[in-house]
Amino acid sequence: MLEITDLHVRRGATHVLRGVSLAVGEGEIATLIGPNGAGKTTLLLTISGLLPVQSGAVSYRVDGEERALGNLPAERIVAAGIVQCPEGRQVFASLTVRENLLVGAYRRRARDDLRDDLERCYGLFPILRARQALSAGSLSGGEQMMLAIGRALMARPRLLLLDEPSLGLAPQVVETILDTVLEINRAGTTVLLVEQNAELALEIADRGYVMETGRIVHAGTGEALLDDPAVKQAYLGIAP
């Protein structure tokens, strides 16, 4: 579905992505793990159109059509079905919970299904229904994560990009969130999950990539990477 070939991206003077190549198949959960500063967030921002591509290709295949995402403006990428849940959740604190969900659906033309989609979100995350009139800034970290995911879902994504959903959350909350991600995937949404918590990510992923300093250094299925000794040592904290 998503194919990235030899991508180079600069942020300011820094050459962050140095020839990244990866692929995400339709319907699967792919995960990208790696240390801080590797460029994972940069990659997601580039896919979403917030950063310009220096060289390389980002290709998106859906419903038989193929498009080069390259330097499309962010609004068109969202319209094409690629929606991101950004790092640090970043809900709109000055809007209510309900308004946050509605703003997620901003791009959609057919406004009638909105109520149904809202209901579906509330079904997935009942706590949001209870808090729907409150300002999003008053929610706890875990609740904000649910809101951020719900907001992304309101856009009816074909490909959902998640940037470090586990950041700053208690382990139990993280498990709930990741279970929800699995549910979303089973319902038909492809997921590209960027995570620092390598173990959890690889456990639910079909395919995994390890990124270090702007390059992909390991690739394989989720299981394979879990067993890979190099990955185990560097990211899973298991002594050789």
């Binding site: 991101q84 709109f92 809007l95």
Partner: protein, 296 residues
């Protein structure tokens, strides 16, 4: 209530309404691009002169207001595209200097093309009728100004709180990159904020000219600066704050002149800016604002 006190109150509310109209637009623009639009006061001037031109051309008064609103919209969009868009992302000081330069250009352009002499400008005679309130009377002009401000402010609040565009503006004002991730076209949204804010400033120009009878190319500078003071008092970035600040400033100015002996009335502008400095130091977020940025 005696005529004198009623008149003072109405003066304060009238002046406050004019300040509020300009301050609301200013606050909307500041909220969304985090830059002081120095040229905002000059849009007031453009609105006043547009009114003069329309009236001179024989346009019926009922049409004048909508056309002036439109003029404001066009002015705002032009300003945004010509100056604000190219410097987006530049440091705050650069933006300030650029809008200051724009203001100088517009004002001197006006002097160049229209001469610095003030022009007279009168509302139709009906506006001078006096409306009885209790034992005293009030000029219709003043009531119209206050009413127009409340109506337009109400409309704007509706737009911001209830429409899709309003939601986009609030989201963009809070977090521009994430607003883009929602699929919001932030360029158009910012342009809309400028359009709406400038429309209000243009109408303020129409009202100002009619109330004070004289317009000149430099008339926008003082209201523009005072609108900034109003926003600081009320809390930058919120419509309610701008209105509150505008009315407090208007009433405060009138009170200042009214209560103190006449030798001190010349100090009213000094009073306004001294208030600005005090508020910036003591209450940096204003009365209603949120603490989002460092000012001190």
């Amino acid at each position: 209530m005696s005529q004198y006190y009623l008149q003072q109150l109405i003066n304060g509310l009238m002046l406050g309404s004019l300040y509020a109209l300009v301050a609301i637009g200013f606050s909307m623009i500041y909220g969304i691009v985090r830059l002081i639009n120095f040229a905002h006061g000059d849009v007031l001037m453009i609105g006043a002169f547009a009114t003069l031109a329309l009236v001179a051309a024989g346009t019926p008064w009922l049409l004048v207001a909508p056309v002036v609103l439109l003029t404001g919209v066009l002015a705002g969009i032009t300003i945004e595209q010509a100056v604000f868009r190219p410097i987006r992302g530049a440091p705050q000081v650069t933006g300030f200097i650029a809008t200051l330069a724009l203001s100088v250009m517009i004002e001197n352009g006006g002097v160049m093309l229209l001469s610095p002499q003030p022009r007279n400008f009168l509302f139709p005679d009906v506006m001078r009728t006096r409306v009885p309130i209790g034992p005293a009377t009030v000029s219709l002009t003043d009531l119209v100004i206050i009413a127009t401000t409340l109506v337009l402010a109400g409309v704007l609040v509706l737009i911001v709180r209830r429409t899709r565009l309003g939601m986009a503006m609030r989201a963009t004002a809070e977090n521009l990159p994430v607003a883009r991730l929602m699929g919001i076209n932030v360029n158009r949204t910012i342009m809309a904020a400028f359009a709406l804010g400038s429309a209000l400033a243009a109408i303020a120009g129409l009202l100002w000219g009619g109330r004070f009878g004289q317009i000149d190319p430099l008339m926008g500078l003082a209201p523009g600066l005072k609108a900034f003071v109003a926003c600081v008092i009320g809390g930058v970035g919120s419509i309610g704050g701008a209105m509150l600040g505008g009315y407090l400033l208007g009433l405060g100015e009138v009170l200042f002149v009214g209560l103190l002996p006449p030798e001190y009335s010349g100090y009213r502008d000094a009073f306004v800016f001294a208030t600005l400095i005090v508020v910036l130091l003591v209450l940096p977020n204003g009365l209603l604002g949120r603490s989002e940025e460092e000012r001190a």
